[in-house]
């Protein structure tokens, strides 16, 4: 097992975790997180591997650039809500790289007694809103927080990462409309548009329509990016954060990114041997 992963990486990365601007470092961070997600998949077939891999670069850039932090009690802090809570293993991986949980804890994910539940729970106090899992609710919570921060005059921003399949839940539009009504410039919805949901490709299950036009029709300035390109993600976040307008980001991604056997499919699980093999094949030192 130790051959697949050098715990030494963890300490190196924890020092550069909080304010990475260099694209190469962000890319390396994503690579290491991807490797840890695969490691967790080897230990727990119940994790949502494909979803964790599609959202991985989005979360890497949010944490890696210091927008989101694992333990920040300050009143001016930003908030990050992973509304698609089933992809939480991408956050667990980044948390391990930062040093806040150990690699051994990652191996225990989903076990009875592990704090790393397969949807985030209160035991992980370093996740801002650790009770997602039921789809469609994170945006409303984010809107409430953003209203509160705005009223207090706080500079904190609220990033809500939402799945494309999740947009089937009508509550997501209730919440997006509320944010638009209140012109919440401190609220940043990021849609992980991986084109796949539980029963298949989104266009086969239920088309999401022309999402860019839907959102712009609601009043959002819509930014589209390649959701696996950390440079593009960092740039668009810089742009959004320097504006007080109503912004939304659509990040086009691939479900299962990095695992050809499940890429662009609804498959969430891979055999343990394959997962371990992939862990050993991923090399992150460019």
């Amino acid at each position: 097992m130790s051959g697949h992963w050098d715990p030494g990486d963890m300490y190196i990365l924890s020092r550069i975790m909080w304010a990475v601007r260099n694209t190469g470092e962000l890319r390396r961070l994503a690579c290491r997180a991807r490797r840890l997600v695969l490691l967790m998949a080897a230990y727990d077939p119940g994790i949502h591997l494909g979803s964790s891999l599609s959202v991985l670069e989005i979360l890497t850039v949010l944490y890696g650039t210091g927008r989101a932090k694992f333990l920040d009690g300050s009143s001016t802090k930003n908030w990050l809500i992973l509304s698609k809570g089933h992809a939480v293993h991408a956050i667990y991986a980044l948390a391990a790289i930062s040093g806040i949980v150990s690699i051994d804890e990652l191996r225990e994910t989903g076990s009875l007694g592990s704090m790393l539940q397969n949807h985030p729970e209160l035991g992980v106090n370093w996740i801002d809103v650790a009770t997602s899992g039921s789809l469609g609710q994170g945006i409303s919570i984010g809107v409430g927080i953003a209203l509160g921060l705005k009223r207090r005059g706080s500079n904190g921003r609220v990033y809500v990462v939402v799945g494309d399949g999740e947009l089937d839940e009508g509550q997501t539009y209730e919440a997006l409309a509320t944010a638009a009504h209140y012109r919440l410039g401190n609220f940043v919805p990021i849609i992980d548009y991986n084109r796949v949901q539980l029963d298949g490709h989104v266009d086969a299950v239920r088309s999401k329509g022309d999402l860019q036009r839907i959102l712009s029709g609601m009043g959002y300035t819509v930014h589209t990016v390649d959701g696996h390109n950390v440079e593009q993600l960092a740039e668009v976040l810089d742009e959004v954060d320097s504006s007080d307008a109503l912004n939304a980001i659509i990040a086009y991604t691939r479900r299962g990114k990095g695992v050809p056997q499940i890429e662009d499919t609804p498959i969430q699980r891979i055999p343990r041997d394959l997962a371990l093999q992939l862990v050993s094949q991923v090399t992150c030192d460019e």
């Binding site: 009770t131 409303s140 809107v143 509160g148 207090r152 209730e174 919440a175």
Partner: protein, 316 residues
Amino acid sequence: MSELVALSPREALGRALVDAGEADRDVVVVTADVGDATRARYFGERFPDRYFNVGISEQNMVGVATGLALAGYKPYAVAFSMFLMRAWEQIRNSPCRLGIPVRLVGTHSGFSDAYDGASHQSLEDLALMRVLPGMVVIAPSDSCETYEAVLQTVDSRAPVYIRVGRELHLPTSCTLGMKFEVGKGYVVRDGGDVAIISTGIMLHFALEAGRILEERGIDALVAHFPTVQPLDTVLVERIARRTGAIVTVEEHSVRGGLGSAIAETLSQAYPVPMAIMGTKTLGKSAKSPMELLEYYGLTAENIAHRAEELVKTARR
């Protein structure tokens, strides 16, 4: 609070929200296009920057209130009880799982919205809220208790559901000058033959039933439990030991409400014969709540009748 006697429950709610807002700057109110109907708008008129109307979206409203609580505020989320219930899963998975104090206020409960009929008559809300671990569930009897329930939950550390009516006002607790306290039941009239226990507006009818029984030579204890959860189990058990027979009555389904809560407690602590009175319907349109209460048998005479029957059969 003598002026509350003259106010309807929803007017008392509007007044209470304003007073809570005066007392604590962190109190915020969220509503779902029913600011006028619930009188939450009084708060909005006094504190426009602490009042958020999210439109007709109760599920969203629960999430927004949860977010405001996370950001350090003390939210009251006010909507029609019936339509707040469509957000049951949001209530379970957001404030309950987080264990944070979001105060949900459901108005137009029970038969209080007589005109609108079954679609608007919330007769299952106590059951739905009571099944949630950690949720405080309050059904005030009148405007005085409604006012107190709001003011006493400003500093709650648990999520709360307060069930409020509309215009029908039977100011029994106001008249009796009873002291409302979250989590406590109280005895309104002592007696040893049988107990009548009410929640919500049924206090008025329970007390009247007690008088009817007295005329018939039956000494009935009447108690009121505005808080359904956490249940005042100490008082429940004391009443069971004192009277040996209990009639519960609520403007709510006979399944899952106060009667169920008391039966769950007593069947495991001190079983006594019980009659659980309430509704077994989804409701109907009518000209007044009183007409509906009578139609569905929630009258003082019927309560007295069931109590009498219980007294005569329980001891054989």
